[in-house]
C-alpha cells in the first residue's frame, strides 16, 4: 500500500474512530438515529395541517436532509477535535499529502451520513406507512450516498472555517437550518420565492431530494441521471473549494502562528 493510500484509508478510519471516543452509542442513537424520526414526524404533521403534500414528501426530504448533521458536524470536528486535543499542529507539520489527509477523513463521514439518512428513511416509511416501490430501493440508496457525499463537500468548507472560528457548532447549526429551508426538504421548490429556489440549485441535497422523490414515484435511475449528476457536481465543487480553503487557512495559520488560536 502506498503512503498516500495508507494515509487516505488508515488515517481516515483512525480519525473517525477517534471521533467515536466521545460519540458513544448513548449519544449516537438518540442524536443520529432517533432524532431524524421526530424531525420527519414534525414536518409531516405540519404538512398535514397545512394540507400541502403527502407524508412521502416529508419522509424523503427530511431523511436525506438529516445527513447534514453527521456530515457537517463530523467534518468541523475533524479540525476542532484535533485542536482541542492539541494534535492539530502535529498533523499539519507532518509531510503527509494534504489530499489523502483531508479527503481520507471525509470518506467515513460520507458513509456514516448515508447510513443515518438511510435509517431515517426506512424508519420514517415504517412509522408513517409510506410504501416505496421495491425497484426504487437500490437507486434511492445510491442517491442517499451521493447526497451525503455532496454535503460532506460543504462539510469540508465548514472544516476549513473551523481553522478560523472557535465556536463552529453555532455556524454548523445555522447551515443546517438554511439547508432545511432552501433545499425543498419541506417546502416544494416551486413554492419558494424565486431567489431561494435559484440559490437552492447550488446547495447540497436539492437535486438528490428531487431525484429520490421521483424514484419513489416510479422513475428509473436513468430518468433522474441529470439530477444525480448535478448533485455530484455540487459536491465536487464544494469539496474542491473546501480543500482550497483548508490549504489557504493552513498557510495563513503557519504564517501568523494562529493555528491554535482560532
Amino acid at each position: 500500500m502506498t503512503v498516500a493510500a495508507r494515509i487516505f484509508f488508515v488515517g481516515g478510519v483512525t480519525s473517525f474512530r477517534a471521533l467515536f471516543y466521545w460519540l458513544t452509542p448513548w449519544i449516537y442513537v438518540p442524536s443520529l438515529l432517533v432524532g431524524p424520526i421526530f424531525q420527519i414526524l414534525l414536518f409531516a404533521y405540519i404538512g398535514r395541517s397545512a394540507h400541502l403534500r403527502s407524508d412521502e414528501f416529508y419522509v424523503i426530504g427530511n431523511a436525506i436532509q438529516y445527513a447534514a448533521i453527521p456530515c457537517l458536524f463530523a467534518m468541523s470536528q475533524m479540525i476542532g477535535g484535533e485542536r482541542y486535543q492539541g494534535t492539530l499542529s502535529a498533523i499539519l507539520v507532518s509531510p503527509a499529502g494534504r489530499i489523502p489527509l483531508f479527503f481520507g477523513r471525509s470518506m467515513p463521514v460520507v458513509i456514516n451520513g448515508a447510513f443515518v439518512a438511510a435509517v431515517a428513511l426506512a424508519l420514517g416509511c415504517l412509522i408513517l406507512d409510506v410504501r416505496l416501490p421495491l425497484s426504487s430501493i437500490a437507486p434511492i440508496a445510491l442517491v442517499v450516498l451521493i447526497a451525503a457525499f455532496s454535503c460532506t463537500g460543504l462539510g469540508l468548507i465548514n472544516a476549513a472555517i473551523s481553522l478560523r472560528l472557535r465556536e463552529n457548532a453555532v455556524l454548523t447549526n445555522v447551515i443546517f437550518g438554511f439547508l432545511l429551508i432552501f433545499t425543498g426538504a419541506n417546502v416544494p421548490l416551486d413554492s419558494l420565492p424565486g431567489w431561494m429556489s435559484t440559490s437552492a440549485q447550488g446547495m447540497p441535497f436539492t437535486h438528490a431530494i428531487v431525484a429520490a422523490r421521483r424514484l419513489a414515484d416510479g422513475a428509473s435511475l436513468s430518468d433522474v441521471g441529470g439530477l444525480v449528476g448535478a448533485e455530484v457536481l455540487v459536491g465536487l465543487a464544494y469539496g474542491l473549494c473546501g480543500y482550497a480553503l483548508l490549504r489557504w487557512f493552513e498557510a495563513q495559520g503557519r504564517r501568523y502562528a494562529t493555528l491554535e488560536r482560532a
Partner: protein, 256 residues
Amino acid sequence: MRIARLLYMGWAFHLKSLTLSGFFIIVSVISPVIFASIAYLMFRAGARPGSLLFVAIGAGMMGIWSATLFGSGGAIQWQRWQGTLEYCIAVPPAFIWVILPLTIATATIGLYSLTSTLVWGWLFFDVPFQLAHPAWFVVALPAAVLALGLLGLVLASTFVLYRHANALSNLLEYPVWLVTGLLTGLALLPGWTRPISWALAPTWGVKALRESALGGDPAFPVAMSIALGIVYLVIGHYCLRYFEKLARERATLAIA
C-alpha cells in the same frame, strides 16, 4: 426578603451570562426564525393556509422550550464542569434557591424567540400583530415563562443522573415541539399523546398566548400553567434533595 434578592440577582446574572452565549442566541433567535419561516412558507403554499400569528407564537414557544431544555437540562452539569457545583451546594441558602434562578433565566432567554419570530413574521410575511386580549397576553407571557422555568428545574435535577444529558436534550427537542402542538395543533395528533401534552407546560403556555392573541378564553390555560409550575416546583425540590443526598453520601459531587 433575602431569598427574593437571591432569586432576582441570580436570575439577572444568568440572563446576562446566557445572552452572551452564541449557542443560546442560535437556539433562541436563529433556530426559531428558521422553523417559523418554514412553517410560514408551508402554510402559504398549502391548501389550508393557517393563521400566521398562530405559527409565529408557536415558533416562539419552540425557542422558549429549546432554551429551557438545553439550558436547564445541563445546568448542574455545567456547574460541575466549571468547578462551581461544590460552592453552589456549600453556600448557606438551599441548593434549590441557587439553581432556580438559572432555570428561570434559561426560559426567559426564550422571550428572544417570541420577539424574533413575531418581528420576523411582521417584517417578511405580513403577520399582523393585533392582540384580542392584550391584558391577558401580558399575564400569559410571564406565566408561560415561569412554568417552563420550573419545568427546567425538574429537567436540571433529573438529567444530572444521566451522563449524556446533552444527547437527551437533543432527543427531547422535537418530540415536545410535536406533542404539545406548537406548530400543528393538537387535534391532528393521535389520541394517546393528549395526556402527555397535558402534563407539559408548553402546551398550556402556547394555548394561553394564542387565546390571548387570537381570541378565546385564556384564563384556564393561564391557570393550568401556574398549577403545573407549582407541581414542577415540588417535584424539582424533592429531586434536587435526592441528588444532593446521593452526591454527599457517595462523594460524587465533582464526578461527572
